[in-house]
């Protein structure tokens, strides 16, 4: 065996970890090689000294102090176990992480959908204020037949006001005759007040109308009436 090979086995040989043919070969080499023998003496010295090394000494009362501490721990354990609630569960990232990823994905998809295919945000579209409905400012054709019933073609605001005034006067006359409380009993008109009598009153209070002529925008004369 050569020196190089022996030196790789020397520490194991000196620490009694080599057996069989290898140990015999090392021994044979050492008997002939002074350099390797010197190196072996160093290893043997380390081995002997490591066994002589004094272990750092623990304090004499080590066991007593340790048992006292454990007694304290046991006391603490038994004292707190009954009263303290269970520890709050730790955040399990293995569970939370996929949930967070899924939420993020949903958010991304939702934003994508909101943006629309053209890239214009639906949100921005939704936030644009709708044009104000000012149709109530102008006269609109009546589509509701119930409301339109009774209205002829020459409907005018003046006539409606006049009709309202007449009804007001009728109601005043009725109150004057019968008193407010006596007008209704259980939903029906009392005494001689009937729809017909109201119609009569209405007709009696027909205001006089004045017919006048006015030139229209086309230049022709038109007849109009005013109350």
């Amino acid at each position: 065996m050569r020196c190089r090979k022996v030196r790789s086995l020397l520490s194991a040989a000196c620490f009694d970890e080599l057996d069989g043919r290898r140990l015999l070969a090392v021994r044979e080499h050492l008997s002939n090689c002074a350099t390797c023998r010197h190196e072996a003496s160093l290893y043997t010295s380390i081995k002997q000294t490591s066994r002589e090394l004094r272990a750092p000494k623990l304090a004499d009362d080590f066991n007593v102090r340790l048992l006292n501490r454990i007694a304290q721990e046991r006391f603490h354990e038994t004292r707190t176990r009954a009263f303290l609630p269970h520890r709050a569960p730790r955040l399990a990232w293995r569970v939370v992480a996929p949930a967070m990823a899924a939420t993020a994905l949903v958010v991304v998809v939702a934003v994508g959908v909101m943006m629309g295919p053209g890239g214009e945000s639906l949100v921005s579209r939704a936030t644009v204020p709708a044009p104000l409905d000012d149709s109530y400012l102008t006269a609109q054709p009546l589509r509701n037949p119930n409301v339109a019933r009774g209205m002829n073609g020459d409907w005018s605001l003046t006539r409606q006001v006049a009709a309202a005034e007449r009804l007001d006067r009728i109601s005043h006359q009725l109150v004057d005759r019968h008193g407010f409380a006596g007008m209704y009993t259980g939903g029906s008109l009392v005494r001689n007040v009937t729809p017909d009598s109201i119609q009569e009153l209405y007709n009696a209070l027909q205001p006089g109308s004045r017919v006048y002529r006015a030139r229209s925008t086309s230049g022709a004369w038109e007849e109009n009436s005013a109350y």
């Binding site: 520490s11 194991a12 040989a13 000196c14 620490f15 021994r27 050492l30 008997s31 023998r37 190196e39 072996a40 003496s41 160093l42 290893y43 043997t44 010295s45 380390i46 081995k47 002997q48 000294t49 490591s50 002589e52 090394l53 004094r54 272990a55 750092p56 000494k57 623990l58 304090a59 080590f62 066991n63 102090r65 340790l66 048992l67 501490r69 454990i70 721990e73």
Partner: protein, 201 residues
């Protein structure tokens, strides 16, 4: 009737400890405290810190006694806990550098003097072991100082068997390289050593 092995008696002790037997716990502590201190005391320079770590190791053993796995050796478990605590302590030290108050007092004269070389071989070896890189030091301490089998060292360090053998061999080589000049300087190779080598022959 055959005498029970250390592993078997360890298991008997551990079963008793699990039932709350403090005498068994005291016996277990007495069995392992010096062996553990031998390793941890050489990993941490401060004796007090090492003692605290050993104490903490046994407290942890007690706290987690119910979770001990009887398929493993008790010694492996204890050493693993102790070494992990010692590593944590070393890591903390890296982050925060501590200074002793005595060091901070003005002793410039003492610092100016070259430190006296230890005159005895155990001191030389102890000093050399302290300078080894951590992974080699741990392997060397467990194998050559505490004389644990390679298989157990591999389990404690959680590395393959071949890695442990390589680390131990490398540690011995480094120690030899460190010690050789100083030993030759002080002519430390005694006759007994040379006789031991001749015994190898």
């Amino acid at each position: 009737m055959t005498k029970p092995t250390e592993k078997e008696t360890d298991f008997i002790l551990m079963r008793a400890i699990q039932k709350g037997d403090m005498v068994a716990f005291d016996t277990m502590v007495s069995r392992y405290k010096d062996r553990l201190m031998n390793v941890i005391g050489r990993m941490l320079a401060s004796h007090e810190e090492a003692e605290d770590i050993v104490q903490e190791t046994f407290v942890r053993v007690y706290q987690h006694r119910q979770s001990f796995n009887f398929q493993h050796c008790l010694s492996t478990w204890i050493y693993t806990i102790g070494l992990n605590l010692a590593r944590n302590e070393l890591r903390k030290r890296k982050r925060f550098k501590f200074h002793e108050i005595s060091e901070m007092k003005g002793n410039e004269k003492e610092l100016a003097v070259e430190p006296k070389l230890p005159s005895r071989l155990p001191e030389l070896l102890s000093e050399a072991v302290d300078t080894l890189p951590r992974k080699y030091r741990e392997a060397f301490l467990l194998r050559d100082i505490d004389e644990l089998p390679y298989e157990e060292v591999a389990k404690i360090l959680n590395v393959p068997l071949g890695t442990v053998k390589s680390r131990v061999n490398r540690a011995r080589l480094m120690l030899r390289e460190k010690l050789q000049p100083r030993m030759e300087e002080q002519n430390a190779l005694s006759k007994s050593t040379l006789l031991a080598v001749s015994g190898l022959l």
